[in-house]
């Protein structure tokens, strides 16, 4: 899952990005409205975390411009917590609203919920044969037994599982699993796919030659 954080406070941006990366997300950051909007329009993020108070173009303006083109789920972050501010934020197209200072676990949970709803799933547990993917705990079990996977491998499984039955292209996977700082021409993806197959069986991820990958 790939996220964009638009936040002008460098300490907040770095800590949030690190926390999300540790949770298995690919994270891009932007420190002002213009940069954030450009990235949001360029790339299909799974969710955007958007600060309201930004230098230059503020968060509401970014959201308004983004909504003309894209339906990417947006979580607004703000220190302005009066009801009119929250209403304005939600009405201008935000999917969720979180006040600063926020609790990190809550923010992570809200991001998960946003992505889940964005992908059209109501439940947190997805079943593929005898494999269960727990989107909340970021764990995968096979026949009730937990499977040891890296964060990136879990992200790969989660992304494919949320698009179960559909073919996901390599480009899509690169776009959603790796952030802007990673080399998308590497064979990193093949390494992750092969590792997952070793752990969950070769048939778990099906290769559609020339198209991409699929979980059936």
């Amino acid at each position: 899952m790939r996220l964009l954080i638009v936040e002008d406070e460098p300490y907040l941006l770095s800590s949030l990005a690190e926390a999300l990366r540790e949770d298995g997300y690919a994270v891009d950051g932007a420190s002002d409205g213009e940069g954030g909007l450009a990235k949001a329009l360029l790339c299909d993020y799974d969710a955007i975390i958007l600060d309201v108070m930004l230098p230059g173009m503020d968060g509401l303006a970014v959201l308004e411009r983004l909504r003309r083109r894209k339906k990417t789920p947006v979580l607004m972050l703000t220190a302005r917590t009066r009801t009119p501010d929250r209403v304005r934020g939600l009405d201008s197209g935000a999917d969720d609203y979180l006040a600063k200072p926020y609790e990190l676990p809550e923010l992570l949970a809200r991001v998960r919920a946003l992505i889940r709803r964005g992908a059209g799933n109501a439940t947190v547990a997805l079943k593929i044969g005898d494999v269960t993917v727990d989107l909340a705990g970021h764990t995968v079990t096979q026949g009730g037994e937990p499977v040891a996977l890296t964060a990136r491998e879990i992200a790969l499984i989660e992304y494919l599982a949320q698009h179960q039955g559909r073919v996901v292209t390599r480009e899509q996977l690169y776009e959603h699993l790796f952030d802007e700082n990673e080399d998308s021409f590497s064979n990193l993806l093949d390494v992750h796919v092969s590792n997952v197959r070793k752990k969950l069986g070769h048939e778990f991820i099906v290769t559609r030659r020339g198209l991409g990958y699929c979980i059936e």
């Binding site: 406070e9 907040l12 800590s15 926390a19 600063k100």
Partner: protein, 481 residues
């Protein structure tokens, strides 16, 4: 007895006035009518008296026995004339004639029995007169020879008509009074209705609907002007409340950001074991956030002090030029490090002020100038006296301030350039504090700027010194923390 309302008072005064005017008018009219009626009757009676007199002493003389035996002479009235007094109809004219010695000479048939001789004039001069006895009116004349002729008649009809006229007048006056009172009540209600609107609007405002205003229909009427004045006051109140509420929201926002940093950094570090470098980084971020919190609370506290009490100033005679030189000397190393030239044009500018606070204003302005002037720039400090003001000004050759920012530059938490100031650590309170200090001194802090060429901040302190009472605008802004 009556409600103590303006409307009732207007109504009561109006009622009194109307009643007095109507009564006066009715009485005058009645009396005029009565007098003219009496005059008409009197003229008529005196005509009859002249008829009698003509009969006695007319050009043809008395008709009848010769005048030689005047004393024994019979009073004789020609039948045509006598007929005037013998009418049986309601006019009821009668006459009585007395001789010179007061004995009755003649009387008409209809004359009442109790008609007495009118009082005789002292000298033997002709005398005319009228009198009223009950419902009878009588006119009399003393002839030159001394006889007394009296003609009278009943005026019961006239009196009845007059009474009728009086009743009619009273009825009309009463009706006019009633209509007048009703119209007056309506006018009073119309006149005082805006007062009711003002009251209900003020109540709604008191209940918190600060954007309510009194509708003003007639700008130039007294109530219109009152409403306009009240509306202006309400607008100022609303603006003041809005400013206060904005300030509180801004303060909360500024306080939350460092808290969010500390919380986010610490929570992330605690999710699992980290290496020493990560912990160090986290702690540095936390310290930074805590410092920001501290600076912010200090600034807020400072503002609160100025808002609460202007007398906290430690006033004394001081020289703006001297304070500026000392303050600038402390910043010279920083200026040379940034390759900015400081130049001075400082003349003595004595005034009564709190030198420590003024130094703070100068320091803030100078730091601001240093932050916004590129290397190779120049900052000029000037001081001097102009009429009754001690003046200090500081000009830089920096980037300048856009005209759209100038009106709000001294507002609390206002940042002309958000990104830059945030990273230099300011919360947008430095100039607000300068302004608060200037206000406490009843001084003016002004800014003029040309984008791209530089800005000039000017502090003008009245030489007469500081008045005792704190300015009203500050009390309205007072900050509660």
């Amino acid at each position: 007895m009556f409600p103590q309302t303006l409307r009732w008072r207007i109504q009561i005064w109006h009622g009194f006035l109307l009643a007095a005017v109507l009564t006066g008018f009715a009485v005058a009219t009645y009396r005029y009518q009565a007098a003219s009626e009496r005059h008409r009757v009197d003229v008529e009676l005196q005509q009859r008296v002249r008829v009698l007199a003509d009969a006695l002493h007319g050009p043809r003389g008395p008709i009848g026995p010769p005048p030689g035996e005047n004393a024994r002479r019979e009073f004789y009235l020609p039948p045509a004339r006598a007929a005037m007094f013998e009418q049986k109809d309601g006019a009821g004219l009668y006459f009585v004639v007395w001789r010179r010695d007061g004995s009755e000479w003649s009387r008409s048939m209809g004359a009442p029995a109790d008609v007495g001789v009118p009082s005789r004039p002292a000298a033997n001069v002709p005398k005319q007169g009228e009198r009223t006895r009950g419902w009878l009116r009588e006119a009399f004349t003393f002839t030159p020879p001394g006889e007394c002729l009296l003609v009278g008649r009943s005026i019961a009809g006239e009196l009845a008509a007059l009474r009728e006229y009086g009743r009619w007048l009273a009825a009309i006056s009463g009706a006019v009074l009633c209509v007048g009172l009703a119209v007056g009540w309506w006018i009073a209600r119309r006149a005082t209705r805006p007062v009711g609107i003002i009251i209900s609007t003020a109540r709604r405002i008191a209940q918190g609907e600060l954007s309510e205003r009194i509708p003003v229909r007639e700008k130039n009427s007294e109530l219109g002007r009152l409403s306009t004045a009240l509306n202006e006051t309400f607008a100022q109140l609303e603006e003041s409340f809005a400013r206060q509420s904005r300030f509180t929201a801004d303060a909360a926002h500024e306080l939350r950001t460092p808290v969010a940093i500390i919380l986010a950094q610490a929570q992330r570090a605690l999710t699992r074991e980290r290496d020493a470098a990560t912990y160090r980084q986290t702690l540095e971020a936390c310290v930074d956030g805590a410092r920001r919190l501290n600076r912010l609370t200090e600034s807020l506290l400072e503002l609160a002090i100025y808002d609460a009490e202007a007398e906290a100033l430690n006033l004394g005679m001081c020289d703006l030029g001297g304070i500026a030189r000392e303050t600038a000397a402390a910043l010279e190393p920083l200026a040379s490090e940034r390759q900015i030239a400081l130049s001075y044009d400082l003349s003595p500018a004595p005034c009564r002020a709190d030198s420590g606070r003024i130094a703070q204003v100068i320091l803030n302005c100078l730091t601001n100038a240093l932050d916004h002037t590129p290397a190779g720039g120049r900052i000029t400090l000037r001081s001097g006296v102009e009429t009754d003001q001690a003046i200090f000004s500081i000009s830089d050759t920096g980037c300048g301030i856009g005209p759209e920012h100038l009106p709000r530059l001294f507002d609390r938490f206002y940042r002309a350039d958000d990104s830059r100031d945030r990273h230099t650590g300011g919360a947008g309170l430095g100039l607000a504090i300068c302004k608060a200090i200037a206000d406490a001194h009843h001084a003016k802090l002004e800014v003029a700027s040309t984008p791209g060429q530089g800005s000039t901040f000017t502090l003008r302190i009245p030489v007469t010194g500081v008045r005792e009472e704190p300015p009203a605008a500050m009390a309205a802004n007072s900050l509660v923390l």
